[in-house]
Structure formats: C-alpha cells, structure tokens
Amino acid sequence: MKLNKGSLFALFAVLELAGNADRQLSTTDIAEKYGISTHHLAKVMRNLVHSGMVQAVRGVGGGYRFAGNVHRTTLLDVIQLFEKLESELDMPNHGTPAGEPIVAELRSITEEIDDLTKAILDTITLETALKSTRLRCEAATIGK
C-alpha cells in the first residue's frame, strides 16, 4: 500500500486536531509541527472541512478544529476522502488474449489484498490511533 501525500497530511492534521477537540490550530501551526508544505496542507484542509470532519473557525485566533467523532471515525474514513486505496496493474495498452487469465487472477489477488487493507484501516478509530501514538511517544521518551 502506498498512501498519497494528501492522505498522509490529512491524517497528521486530523490526529493533531482530534487529540484535543477544543483546540483550534491554523494550517501553519500544523504544517510547521510536521514539517510539511503549508500550501498543500491548505488544500487538504479544505477537503476535510467540506467532508464535515473538520470545522473552520473564522476571526481572530481562528483556525481549524476537529468536528467528527473520535470514537467512530476511522483511519479509512480519512484516507478515502483522498484516494480509493485500490491496487492497479500497470498493464501495457496492447495486451494479448494470452495474458488475460493471468491478469484476471492477479486482479482477484489484488482485490483480496485491498479488502484486507481496508478492513484493517476501517477498524482503527482515531481514538485507538491516538492512544497507540501516545504509547509510542512514551516508549521513545523512556528509551532515550
């Protein structure tokens, strides 16, 4: 599986905001923390606002805040706003019939892999992801 930048930036932003739903952060705050492009993140934030997962707060001290349900929203919910997560076969334009059964078999295998990938991502809620991330940070701090 290869996550595109949009999904990755969205996960940074959503997890950052969902970690404290009362807090408002600007695109610059999030981009600086994770060392990512503010310009690209701004586009991602527009998508997240459009989906209803994030709310834009206008005015002085405005920014974004998490508007979803941390217990129900899954990693797949976020990722699917930006990509389909479907494997692709890089097929030549003029394949011959001889390759068709092999391609059909490979498609059936990649569908199996895609189903598993989605099933895993669809059962990890933001709450679980935040908890695991926190444990990882604590373990890294203890290890220092």
């Binding site: 899954t74 189903d115 598993l116 895993i120 669809d122 990890i124 709450e127 679980t128 908890k131």
Partner: protein, 150 residues
C-alpha cells in the same frame, strides 16, 4: 463504606444461558440453544483454568459474555489464549463492559500460563473488530484461509 461495583464479571452459570443466547447476535437463532448448552458444558464449570466462560451482570441482569480457552500447537503455534465469543447487550454498550470482560479473561489466561491472546472476527463486524483494536490486538502471525467444499 465503599460503593458496590454495579457491574460484576463472574463465571457464567446455567441460568445465564437464556440471556446469553439473547445477547449473542451472530449466526442463526434456532441453532443457538444447542450451541450454547454445548459451550457451557465444555467451558462453563469454572473448574479448569484453561477454559473460561464469563458473564457480565448489572442490576441482576446479564449484559454481556466472553468465552475463551488456552489452545496449544495448532499449526505449530505455542500455547496461547483464544477468545472465541464476546458480546455486550446493545443497550449497555459504551460503558466499558467489554473492556472489563476482556481484561478479566486476559488475567485468567495469564494465570493459566499464556502470554498471548488471539481472536478471530468477521471482517464486517466493525464494532467488535474496533474494540479488539482498541485493546491493542493486531493482525497476528497466522492467516485464516477458507474455501467452499465442492
């Protein structure tokens, strides 16, 4: 004086079976009485450390159950704990009952000498899968495979 815990996790007893069958929302209803009687006969005595069948009781009512056992050397797997059934009454969800039951079965499995717990859940059962994920379970070393038998 300390308040009595409103939720008790204890060994299942024969009088719990009707409530357990009612809460169990997986599989065909008509086959459940025989299935659960068999499960109770095998796991329900509470006498064997490696076979565990627990019920969660609140206000005199059964509101959840969990069952598991120690299995050893299936396809070369070292002894590990298996949780093969768990459910909480829909009206009692979100109160931490599944976590309490899971913590208790893990404690007992550890007491029976194993350090790994394993389960298998239908991938469409998002509620149960999300719960186990939240408890730190991840895809294990074994893959479940299946096919239709002609």
């Amino acid at each position: 004086m300390a308040m009595k815990d409103p939720i008790q996790i204890r060994n299942a007893v024969p009088t719990d079976l009707d409530a357990i069958i009612e809460i169990d929302d997986v599989g065909p209803k008509e086959e459940k009485p025989a299935y659960w009687r068999g499960i109770f006969a095998h796991y329900g005595s509470g006498e064997k450390k490696d076979r565990i069948f627990l019920a969660a009781e609140a206000g005199g009512e059964i509101v959840g159950f969990i069952a598991g056992e120690v299995r050893a050397w299936e396809f070369g797997s070292a002894p590990c704990g298996w949780v093969f059934a768990m459910a909480v009454s829909p009206r009692m969800r979100g109160l931490g009952i599944a976590k309490r039951m899971f913590d208790e079965i893990c404690r007992r499995l550890k007491g029976a000498g194993v350090t790994t717990v394993r389960t298998m859940v239908n991938r469409n059962n998002k509620v149960t899968l999300s719960f186990f994920r939240s408890q730190g379970l991840r895809t294990g070393r074994y893959l479940e495979l299946e096919r239709e038998i002609d």
